[in-house]
Symmetry: C2
Subunit: 284 residues, 2 copies
């Protein structure tokens, strides 16, 4: 997905929010803001929005001197989601269609996205889980289930910390032995990395790999060759969240995107309403 | 008032909205957007936000080839306000405190601001007028009345088209012969110029001058020397709207600002709530 003009003011707003989140030093706020404005003035709009996201967060890490500014909130949301996990698992086990409920939970977890909103809290997450159990989905869980049944190998590409625990709920409903879970190669925003997969016990469920990149998405040509091999060898990709959608929507693969549409440009691109829970298949 | 970091994403959003309003040519959208991003990366943040507004709208006029992209909406809102005028005047004439009601009307008219929101329509305007009659003002009408009584010469600096008709309601309650009304020197956004003062019959009520500038505010050092003389000679300035507030809040004069606080940065600067009707005096 290309960058839309409407993404640009959002990049700038996100830059200010993120650099303030990383440091209280106003000189660094200004330095990063000016560099991002300059870069945006020259940017290649054919590239997907996470290319600029990667640039912004590299700058913020560089100037703030913090290799992982979101470490504390990442830990907090992993911990919080782990506390919710037993109750959510019970809801799934007691539901008439476990796969459907688990898919809804996995999508609900995608609300924990500090790239879009760094005011996320437990109240928003709980309301979102409740809503997800009954709301009309944009797309078909049945189609995902059929694609899962037809696949021998599934690469499940995660998105955020906290959310990774919700992914465990859906992975629990996928055939054992078929699934590999992928995380980012290194910290960016609150996206999950190998450390988070270990912390949330995802590594006890399935094999976990990283994509070798610090983009808030999967810019496939920038990912490690090992990741690319898993990606292209898999019969089915399940990709979580907006960043993975933005970077993979034009890649020629059999992919299901599961996400909350939190941005008007993406909602317009998908053809859904802002706020919709999306489960959308794309054939290779 | 200096430019805040939070003004920058808003400049970019306004640029996109305004250039789309001026032309459907996407090449021009991109050209203007990139130039504004570049200029913002180098901008002097000590200057007030309308300095960037002036730059943005100069670019849009230059590249779109339209010297007045808002001409149609300016005419429409002047016409609409003129249709409302007799009924609003009657409300004032029948109210227990005509000056208070007229001041509220003048502030209500400041909602017609295409710099902040180009989706303004008659429903929003009508609701805003109704609200203005009873809402708690941020500031004191009595203080304005006292300042008016003490002044021999009053320079009333207008803001937008449409709104200029609401200004006539307040000017009708000011002492005859004391008031000069000022407009922008040339078209910028939907701000009122001499043509609008003629069209709305402001010129039949009081002497009207222009400030010689195309900024969406009064960048005093850029205004004509004639305007500056009226400005500094006046005992009292009544300045309408956010652009005049942003450019004049640090100028050493006896000024009353009348505006709707439509932007969070300005509301924070003033110390009021977003959406408040403000009538705020500032001593020289």
């Amino acid at each position: 997905m290309e960058t839309n003009f409407d993404c640009i003011p959002c990049f700038i707003r996100q830059t200010i929010e993120a650099v303030r989140f990383a440091t209280t030093d106003e000189n660094i706020h200004e330095l990063v803001l000016r560099e991002v404005l300059y870069a945006a003035s020259k940017m290649d709009m054919k590239k997907s929005p996470p290319v600029m996201g990667q640039y912004i967060h590299r700058l913020i890490r560089k100037y703030s001197g913090s290799p992982d500014p979101y470490k504390k909130v990442k830990d907090r949301f992993n911990q919080y989601a782990l506390e919710l996990y037993p109750a959510l698992k019970e809801i799934i086990e007691n539901s008439p269609d476990k796969f459907d409920t688990a898919a809804r939970m996995a999508i609900a977890g995608n609300i924990i996205d500090f790239g879009v909103n760094n005011k996320i809290d437990s109240t928003i997450i709980k309301k979102n889980i409740e809503k997800s159990l009954s709301e009309k989905l944009f797309g078909s869980v049945t189609h995902l289930q059929e694609a899962v049944n037809a696949a021998e190998t599934i690469l499940y590409i995660g998105d955020n910390t906290g959310e990774i625990v919700f992914d465990r709920l859906l992975i629990g409903q996928l055939p054992k032995g078929k699934v590999i879970y992928a995380v980012r190669g290194s910290p960016v925003i609150n996206d999950a990395t190998i450390a988070d997969a270990v912390y949330t016990a995802m590594t006890d469920m399935v094999r976990v790999i990283d994509n070798g990149s610090d983009a808030p998405g999967c810019i496939i040509e920038e990912c490690s060759s090992a990741f690319r091999q898993y990606f292209f060898d898999a019969d089915l990709i399940i990709a979580k969240g907006q960043g993975n959608f933005e970077t993979l929507s034009d890649v020629n693969k059999n992919i299901f995107f599961l996400l909350k549409a939190k941005c008007p440009v993406i909602a317009r691109h998908i053809g859904c309403e802002l706020g919709n829970a999306v489960i959308m298949g794309k054939q290779s």
